[in-house]
Assembly symmetry: C2
Homo-oligomer: 451 residues x 2
């Protein structure tokens, strides 16, 4: 009877482990994920800004692994893990394992301000990307028919909180999207009135990069019309905008790219965590005291001389392979290899044709960096069809300046609710949420509440 | 000052009128739509069955008409029309007009059983297509991990109610989707256990076609594994299934393709309607007594020697052009031309490589009909990019038998709610709705309620 390996999470790390172990034919693999799809998160900001379709960057885990023998994929919501009893408890079953790989990734952290989530969606899932797309496009549609210039200004102001790669990429693409479609397709609003504000708490953007590249990224963003506010923190977020200390910037569309926190599963394991809640793993990525249980990717804190490894796709992928390899070495009665991260460099892209990359001290920026970014991202995208479709979409957008996926779709599918499309609120997921923030606010709240 | 033409609805008919009038440069055009996009409904069933992405068959109305001078596009929810005062009342404004073109299309009719809507979504909007996709794919995921064979059978039973083109196309594509992915990617369920049931109230399918073609369509469906039940009516729909007279078929996924009703706007006009609620229009498509107001497409009842014209895209398109032409003739002080429909024939497609078409008595079926269907649909699709992408998607699916858009996405985007993915209910939009139907039903209701 083959040993049973359970992998929680079909992200970059989980998939690598599942493929390697599945191909070996020496273990039974079960992949548990609450989603049915693997998501290529590095391109998620392009779904949020209407350049790509969800399925261009996501693929069913079942479709990726389905052909593998002895590999079982279940769409399951994991409730807890019993490390002592070597069992994963999900909502529909208990799953005993011989080996466990936890690769659950991370979600957004609002630093205790959980009430900010409905007002400022983050960008971790397809659902969130579509919500951001809906809010951005709806704000423009509402501003086109708005009579009150003050409200119009609020609708035309977009605030992105957080100056890391996600915030930088989102702000750059957002500025391009808004300016291009407003200047060509809107009659009642001037593209010059659009404000895209990027709020960064630290003294510079992209802390992971060199100060020189941070500065280049800042200039590239400003060239695209993004206002970069450095050293500022959001102290209040409402349906009407964001307070930065003593300044309140009115905005109907606030997006969150500031903080992430690892899977809540970590809290249930009863093992030592770092301050951010990541599991402090051993050098073979196992949980101290539980050699058969591994934690990888954003969920793990792997210490190196330069500090803990960052939450990057290459880190998760290499860790997935390392864990799979060590499980097979166990079966061969060989000693495990400690994990070593092979630095693949870092990249951030700012709209069309500009990026910054850093690779072992070698710094690149501008078009060459962008070309490299494009090549790498197409290469790592899962599925040939997706590569073809994404390339065509990019070529089309590059040549025509058009976005392929500028649809406003609603959460509700009921005919009765579809009237909402005309009065859909921007700054909150539902009118109810607006009224919650602003007692007595009439629908369409975000558009109509007197400033 | 140019006369002001308001067009309500950016569907097939409204767009044709807007383009013709906008290009003429002789009138000011305002297009009002509660959605921001034009939708190519004939291919919507392919979004519901995971072959195409929403934006492959939908395009922002603003993007289609934005370049036109004197054409204004507003995403507006129309509340009512004051025919006497020549004013359209929307949620955010009052819009006076010189000419009005109403092209609001139709929505689903549950024949008074409004409580059936949450249990059996129809297929008229992108939101509904995505909801159908979510339910179908979720039912398969739940059945893969279900232990109770009785519940598994319910999860593997799909019922489509209505044997018109929509029901036939949906059932055919659904059977192909379910059988192909279950046979290749699922470990715990047999594709032989999948039941796709098409329920038709009349004595034959596709009443608009000849009896011979109806029979061919029936055989083609049965070849794909669809059970066709003729002369049966749904008398009850619950989260557990459908009652057809004295038989109750357990099913977690019930889809509605039975009836349509015109826009509720018709009821507010205070003009004569037919039994289905369509406006009885004059031979120039104007509202009797209001020569400056026109009604076209599904919303209108245009009488011909063969009875009223059906709700087809070609009818709406030709009527849009006819109305635009007559408005321009008014400006030239020329007499209006009565509308004449040029029959473009009818088509229905059943999965890959089979279709039936009828054109002026000429009947075609099988592959040639399918090739014609494919050509016509690519040709009428709006946007070059969409044509390219759809062709690639089709070619890819045809060669690989894979679907490009098999994503389960949820209505909610909040991290807190995403756990739902693992327990998302199939037969109802929300667990609450299941409990409403089945008091005391535990979540995951559709999957777990004892039969």
């Amino acid at each position: 009877m083959k040993p049973h390996v359970i992998i929680i999470g079909g992200g970059f790390g989980g998939l690598k482990a599942a493929k390697l172990l599945g191909k070996s034919g020496r273990v039974k693999v079960t992949v548990l994920d609450r989603k049915n799809h693997h998501l290529f998160q590095p391109l998620l900001y392009q779904v949020a800004t209407a350049s790509l379709n969800p399925s261009d960057i996501a693929m069913p885990i079942r479709q990726i692994l389905g052909a593998q023998t002895d590999t079982n994929v279940l769409m399951e919501n994991v409730l807890s893990v019993d490390l002592a009893g070597k069992t994963v408890i999900t909502e529909s079953d208990r799953h005993p394992y011989d080996y466990l790989v936890m690769a659950c990734g991370s979600s957004h952290s609002y630093f205790g301000h959980t009430d900010w989530e409905p007002l400022a969606p983050g960008l971790k899932t397809i659902e969130q990307a579509l919500e951001i797309r809906r809010r951005v496009l709806t704000a423009l549609e509402l501003s086109e028919k708005e009579k009150d210039p003050k409200v119009q200004t609020r609708l035309l102001t977009f605030i992105v909180i957080g100056g890391g790669p996600t915030g930088v990429e989102l702000a750059g693409a957002l500025a391009e999207l808004a300016h291009s479609i407003v200047s060509t397709e809107f009659d009642n609003i001037e593209s010059a009135r659009i404000r895209v504000v990027l709020v960064q708490g630290d003294a510079r953007l992209l802390l992971a990069f060199s100060p020189a590249l941070s500065e280049k990224a800042k200039l590239a963003l400003e060239k695209k019309g993004v206002e970069v506010l450095m050293g500022r923190h959001a102290t209040e977020i409402t349906a009407l905008g964001v307070r930065l200390g003593d300044e309140f910037i009115e905005s109907a569309t606030v997006l969150w790219a500031a903080g992430v926190k690892p899977s809540p599963l970590n809290g249930m394991l009863g093992v030592p965590l770092d301050r951010q809640g990541r599991v402090l793993v051993a050098e073979d990525l196992s949980v101290p005291g539980h050699p058969e249980a591994f934690v990888i990717g954003d969920q793990a804190h792997f210490e190196t001389p330069k500090g803990p490894l960052p939450g990057l796709a290459p880190v998760a992928m290499q860790q997935g392979l390392a864990v799979g390899t060590n499980i097979l070495r166990d079966l061969d009665k060989k000693s495990r290899k400690p994990f070593r991260y092979l630095d693949k460099g870092i990249m951030a892209v700012i709209g069309r044709s500009f990026a910054v990359t850093e690779f072992h001290g070698l710094e690149l920026s501008g078009f060459p960096a962008w070309a490299m970014w494009l090549f790498v991202h197409i290469m790592y995208l899962v599925g040939h069809r997706n590569r073809i479709i994404v390339l065509i979409n990019w070529a089309w957008s590059y040549l025509t300046f058009q976005r392929g996926a500028r649809l406003i779709t609603l959460a509700s599918w009921r005919d009765a609710d579809l009237g909402q499309a005309g009065r859909v609120t921007v700054a909150a997921a539902t009118p109810a949420e607006v009224s919650a923030v602003l007692p007595g606010a009439a629908v369409p709240a975000a558009g109509k509440v007197p400033g």
